[in-house]
């Protein structure tokens, strides 16, 4: 099968894309939606990409842009559901030692960070991209990515320390 066929790309990248989307969007439904929308854009425009080896970066960049576009829209037209509860408030009450950290609690901690740190940190931990690729995906300078990863890690550690039972 062609390495850059639609199906091959989906097989190779839909899982890390979903996890990145989840770190940004904070809900499974929105994350799934973002991933589907990203591949939808690839189906429509991916053919225009001359250097197919950049397909992975293209997909992550597109997903990030899609998220930013939606967030801008939501900032203007906020949707507040009565049943909405801040998940971080719920998890904060259940202490967690570092040994017990699992995917959900890591994601919950990540989601408490500002998006400025969340996006580079999620990409860093997915280990799919170097810091240079992350800079390209997030469209920020390399130095900015490095300092955001560094600061983001500090904040993440603090969150875990706060969760430790006293």
């Amino acid at each position: 099968m062609d390495e850059f066929s639609f199906e091959s790309l989906v097989n190779a990248h839909y899982e890390p894309l979903y996890r990145f989307a989840l770190s940004l969007a904070r809900s499974e439904a929105d994350a799934s939606d973002l991933v589907q929308q990203t591949f939808c854009r690839w189906a429509a425009k991916g053919g225009q990409l001359r250097d197919k080896s950049k397909a992975k970066s293209w997909l992550f960049t597109t997903l990030h842009r899609e998220f930013l576009g939606r967030r801008r829209h939501e900032d203007k037209f906020p949707k507040v559901e009565i049943s909405a509860v801040d998940e971080s408030e719920l998890t904060a009450s259940s202490p967690l030692s570092e040994k017990q950290i699992d995917g959900a609690s890591v994601m919950s901690a990540l989601q408490r960070l500002d998006e400025m740190y969340r996006a580079p940190l999620a990409l860093f931990y997915l280990e799919e991209h170097s810091y240079r690729d992350i800079a390209e995906i997030l469209e920020v300078p390399v130095g900015t990515v490095m300092s955001r990863i560094s600061r983001g890690k500090e904040l993440l550690r603090q969150i875990f320390i706060e969760k430790e039972p006293r």
Binding site: F6, E7, V10, N11, Y14, E15, P16, Y18, R19, L22, S23, E28, S32, V35, Q36, F39, C40, A43, H73, K76, F77, E98, I101, D102, G103, A104, S105, V106, M107, L110, A122, F124, Y125, L126, E127, S130, Y131, V145, M146, S147, I149, S150, K153, L156, R157
Partner: protein, 298 residues
Amino acid sequence: MNRDEARLILQSCRPGGQDAADPQFAGALALAKEDAELAAWFAKQQIFDAQISRDIKSLRVPPDLKAKILAQENPQLQRITEPPAAIRWRHLFSFRSPTAWAMAAMLLMLLSLAIFWNQSGRPAHFADYSAQMVYAAVNDTNHVDVENSDMKQVVAWLGAHHGESQFTLPVALNGSTGLMGCRVLDWHGQKVSMLCYGLNGSGHVDLFVTEADIFPDAPPVDRPQFASSGGMPTASWSHDGKAYLMVGHGNVADLEKVLQPKETVKSLFPARISFKPAGLSYFAKIVWNKPSVAVSNL
């Protein structure tokens, strides 16, 4: 390179060893070999990072996501991703089935009745319209068709999309202050224009404009009526053959503020904005109403 610089660089070094050959890290890694404290710090970092990385990568992905994505590309696969229940329903309503023919006949009859009922002069009451517009203001996923804060462009867009584009606005809504976007809706075949505002002091307000003569009970001319529909405060009035419905996302006092601006502003009188096509483009003409027009309460 000092220890702090090395730390900053090494923070971006992935724990899986993918960056080992990256020259950017070479200097910092070399320093870590000579500096025991830096080496210990880096080792701890890598353990922490490896754990977080493992945990994030273990996050469960919805099992049907891949099938849904592939179905976007290949409509044939869409059938596979449908739940079995949907397939059963489709078989039930196969055109070989007598049940399907009976259902189709019943639907046709109901449709005919609905059309007859609609054409037999059933009046579209303003309260129904109001409820529907409030629903659109609150529940529709796409709140506006276009986001734009320029009144000229918004009115031109409404005109180009067959919405109401000639209307008289209350002073507080005149001009582009607080304008956020617009939308064209359909009410029993009649186009309705919606203007969306985010106003200082009054919050989010949506204004719906359509022809007044489609309602047997159009709101009073130039005298806003305050009410509540679907739990949302509304104000409605008519002016120059148009029916106006304002929906607030706060409380009724916010709407009163919009419709009864301060004296200094009130003295400006509402503006009439009209647009007419000029070739392919539109241009705006603002005509100030004379003081004699009885809209001072607006």
